[in-house]
């Protein structure tokens, strides 16, 4: 299995989801080898192999590896150094330029190399994605396995390379697409890698029906090749020591990266409408992102800075604290393949409002759903949850029952079904 990040070194939901999937598969009795670009230490590993691609010695003389090395050289020569714009500034800019280590073994003509990567989202992301693929082609021959499973575009070249080297079936798992992240202004290079991965994959797993439709419509993939496996949620021990709130008013929370994809502007505009009728409420926008300054400007322009707060980037315990002091949770995403945050909110006893343009709306019955652009409907929903305790109480109680249906074990059995099907196809595919 190829992934770009693994807890605790994560920048978003991808690492968390990978962790959930691995845990679920292990419970199903599936053996997993998980490859990341670089290990930092402290990763949660139990009963499975975690491989740091930066530490693997790769023989570049093997034809498939040679092919991918050439592709890497091409990318290194032609890709502009540019940060990948859709990720948090906190998470980017860490790229350390490390020299490629080269070990030449005297009596052998084979050239053994190590490819160092940062595993971050810095300026050399495209190069790293391809380095990772070179290493993957080498790893493909090292371990015993039946299926190759890669998570999102960053690891698709690796998935393809491993498939070419081993002839084993390749599953592309779509957690998010470039359409979700950037709307219509897609990054062509990323889109191309996504499409290539989807086309070369033997099967595709989408995290929701919503995402499955994007895969079919925007990437032209045949529908029968795409299955839906919803994400799960890791149950946390409910913390009874609820922190006393610093503020008396009810708190309405937006939490996540403040980017185009997450629809922060609709939250701000709805807040203004709510404050016009319910003055004793506070809005919090928790997180960081490239739209944060613009949102601060908008809040000031709408003259509600004394009731609308920004926290900046939150760490783990602060995220929990934020849920604990929230009375309503809003996820107005413009396009959300799944969306794990509302599930965490429900787990923390907070009623949620989610956009219809999200995968999670397919599995949450007990949530208010609005179109992301419908600011009036969003404002109405917030006001209703604030003012009618019976309503918010009902959502709190029943939301929990939705959660029972969502666990990683269930997701894993969906994934295993896909594996089983593929295993039987193997002879055909490898021809």
């Amino acid at each position: 299995m190829f992934g770009w990040e693994f807890p605790p070194h994560i920048s978003g939901g991808l690492g968390t989801a990978c962790y959930g999937i691995v845990t679920g598969l292990l419970q199903q009795g599936v053996q997993v080898t998980f490859v990341v670009p670089k290990l930092y230490g402290g990763e949660n590993r139990k009963a499975f192999r975690l491989v740091s691609a930066s530490d693997v010695l790769v023989n570049t003389a093997v034809p498939v590896t040679q092919k991918w090395s050439e592709r890497l050289q091409y990318i290194e020569a032609h890709s502009p150094l540019a940060p990948y714009a859709m990720l948090d500034p906190e998470e980017t800019g860490h790229t350390e330029v490390k020299e490629m280590e080269q070990l030449t073994i005297a009596d052998d003509k084979s050239r053994l190399k190590r490819f160092r990567m940062t595993g971050k989202y810095g300026n050399e992301l495209m190069q790293e994605v391809h380095k990772y693929a070179v290493v993957a082609s080498g790893i493909a021959g090292t371990y015993e396995y039946d299926v190759i499973h890669a998570h999102d575009w960053l690891t698709f070249p690796a998935g393809i390379a491993a498939k070419e080297a081993s002839g084993k079936p390749f599953v592309a798992h779509i957690h998010a697409t470039e359409y979700d992240r950037s709307g219509e202004n897609v990054n062509q290079a990323v889109f191309d890698l996504e499409k290539e991965g989807m086309e070369r994959a033997d099967h595709i797993i989408a995290v929701s029906e919503y995402t499955r439709q994007i895969v079919i419509d925007k990437y032209g993939i045949s529908p029968e090749k795409v299955s839906v496996v919803h994400n799960g949620i890791t149950t946390k021990g409910t913390d009874s020591t609820r922190l006393s709130k610093g503020v008396q008013e009810k708190v309405v929370t937006f939490m996540g990266r403040i980017t185009y994809q997450k629809g922060p502007e609709y939250f701000v505009r709805a807040a203004r409408k709510v404050l016009d009728v319910v003055p004793d409420v506070r809005f919090v926008m928790a997180g960081g992102g490239d739209k944060m300054d613009a949102m601060i400007d908008l809040v000031a322009e709408l003259k509600m800075s004394s009731r609308f707060h920004f926290t900046g980037f939150l760490n783990g315990p602060e995220v929990d604290e934020m849920y604990a002091i929230s009375d309503v949770f809003v996820m107005p995403s413009v396009s959300e393949p799944f969306g794990i945050a509302p599930l965490e909110a429900i787990q923390a006893n907070v009623p949620v409002i989610i956009s219809k343009q999200s995968g999670v709306s397919e599995v949450l019955k007990n949530a208010i759903k609005v179109d992301f652009w419908d600011v009036d409907a969003l404002a109405d929903a917030i006001a209703a949850l604030l003012q009618y305790n019976s309503l918010s109480g009902l959502f709190k109680e029943n939301g929990k029952s939705d959660l029972k249906e969502l666990n990683w074990k269930k997701s894993a059995s969906g994934i295993e079904e896909v594996y089983q099907k593929l295993k039987s196809y193997v002879p055909e595919i490898s021809q």
């Binding site: 610093g246 944060m292 400007d297 322009e301 003259k303 800075s305 707060h309």
Partner: protein, 430 residues
């Protein structure tokens, strides 16, 4: 005979600590003790102490022929008391020479003059009281925060009993008039206005160590030549600047201290200029004209207006959110809350939120403890949110205790009445 009027501004704000949303309602510590004390100590060492010593020698040596004036904000004085008492003592020693005039301003170097008349008056009164208790001097002349000025403010300051006020010799109010005269405020009254000669002031304050400046290096002789070139009938050249110019904005190795040290001797030997205090200038020179300033001016940035503090939506919203509390504040009697109310009004907090680019932006950045105006804004609003909660809680408790006291008084009175009545009844029965 013409005169030179030296005026130095001394101000330090109480800078805020990083204050997160999670602190709101939980922590009432707003100010960064470490940062504030280290800045005060640093500036004291580089500027206040050496500059005061130099001035003390000059003032005593020339026995009153050399004179300077200062305004020192209340927040600067509070921080000297707290972090560097030796600075306070050295200013007191300076004032005790009786060759120093102290001017009045708002206690916290605030923007109250453009927010609320009542608030403005209260804060000026607080500053005057502080100056009197610290230095035994009663200011006669007023200088507003960053020389902010308009006709309405002048009128209000006149009503408070001041003789006159300092402001910027901004081109757009002066047009072709010279700043080197005393003017009357509009509408005509006895209230005088002294205008900063920004060219000659900024040659010292901004350009002194600028090696790309065509006049660098600036010698005392050259500066005296410039002064001597001014027409003889000019009354007063107002050199207004931050006191931190000496040793902090312009470092000691630029020769700024030597410039200041040599200036008086050269003025006396090679020119007809005398030195003068603002109140003297207003008394001894006949105003040449009425100065009408309908729109607010200041000494900040190229624009010389309020845009450094109230130029964008962040600043305006923060400003409105702050002054919305003024009515509640009037009912408050908690000394700590009232103190924080002052400190939160320092214009600096708004200055840090400026999103201006280019040359002005650089100046803003130099003075700001924040990496971005947006973070300055978030931090300030978090603090202000807590302040609002704290104020409301205090007023609720206060209202409750007043009610409680009234109730107790009523009960006691009722009881007394009934005990007084009882014997009467008994007598009646008898």
């Amino acid at each position: 005979m013409s005169a030179i009027c030296f005026y130095f501004q001394v101000h330090q704000p109480f800078r805020l600590r990083p204050y997160r949303f999670f602190d709101v309602g939980r922590s009432h510590n707003y100010f960064d003790e470490d940062m504030n004390s280290s800045i005060i100590k640093k500036v004291a060492e580089k500027c206040y102490l050496p500059a005061n010593e130099l001035l003390y020698d000059l003032l005593t040596h020339y026995k009153g022929d050399f004179k300077v004036s200062f305004s020192i904000s209340g927040t600067a004085l509070d921080q000297f008391e707290k972090y560097a008492p030796e600075v306070l003592a050295s200013f007191q020693k300076l004032v005790d020479t009786s060759h120093v005039e102290l001017l009045a301003e708002t206690y916290a170097h605030s923007l109250a003059s453009v927010a609320s008349k009542k608030e403005f008056r209260t804060q000026v009164r607080q500053h005057v009281k502080k100056i009197y208790s610290t230095f035994g001097q009663h200011p006669k002349v007023f200088r507003n925060t960053e020389l902010i000025y308009n006709d309405a403010i002048a009128h209000q300051v006149a009503e408070m009993g001041f003789k006159g006020m300092l402001t910027e010799g901004a081109d757009r109010v002066l047009a072709y008039k010279s700043p080197n005269y005393v003017y009357r405020a509009h509408p005509a009254s006895d209230f005088g206005v002294l205008l900063k000669n920004y060219k000659l002031s900024d040659d010292i304050a901004f350009r002194f160590s600028d090696q790309s400046w065509s006049q660098w290096p600036l010698s005392v002789d050259k500066y005296i030549q410039w002064l001597n070139r001014l027409p003889k009938q000019h009354q007063v050249v107002n050199l207004f600047m931050d006191y931190e110019t000496f040793g902090e904005h312009q470092w000691a190795d630029s020769g700024i201290f030597r410039f200041l040290q040599e200036l008086p001797a050269h003025v006396f030997s090679s020119s007809d200029y005398a030195f003068i205090h603002p109140s003297e200038a207003l008394e001894s020179f006949e105003p040449i004209d009425i100065l009408s300033v309908p729109e607010t001016i200041s000494w900040a940035d190229e624009a010389r207006d309020l845009s450094a503090w109230l130029g964008n939506n962040l600043q305006k919203d923060a400003f409105d959110s702050l002054y919305k509390l003024r009515k509640k504040i009037r009912k408050c009697d908690d000394q700590e809350i009232l103190r924080d109310w002052q400190y939160l009004q320092a214009s600096d907090h708004f200055y840090y939120m400026s999103t201006k680019d280019f040359a002005d932006g650089q100046v803003h950045k130099y003075f700001s403890p924040y990496p971005s105006p947006y973070l300055a804004f978030i931090n300030y609003m978090n603090v202000l949110s807590d302040f609002e909660i704290r104020l409301s809680r205090h007023l609720q408790t206060r209202a409750r205790s007043i009610k409680h006291n009234q109730l107790i008084k009523k009960l006691i009175r009722d009881e007394r009445l009934s005990t007084e009545k009882v014997p009467v009844k008994i007598r009646e029965v008898i």
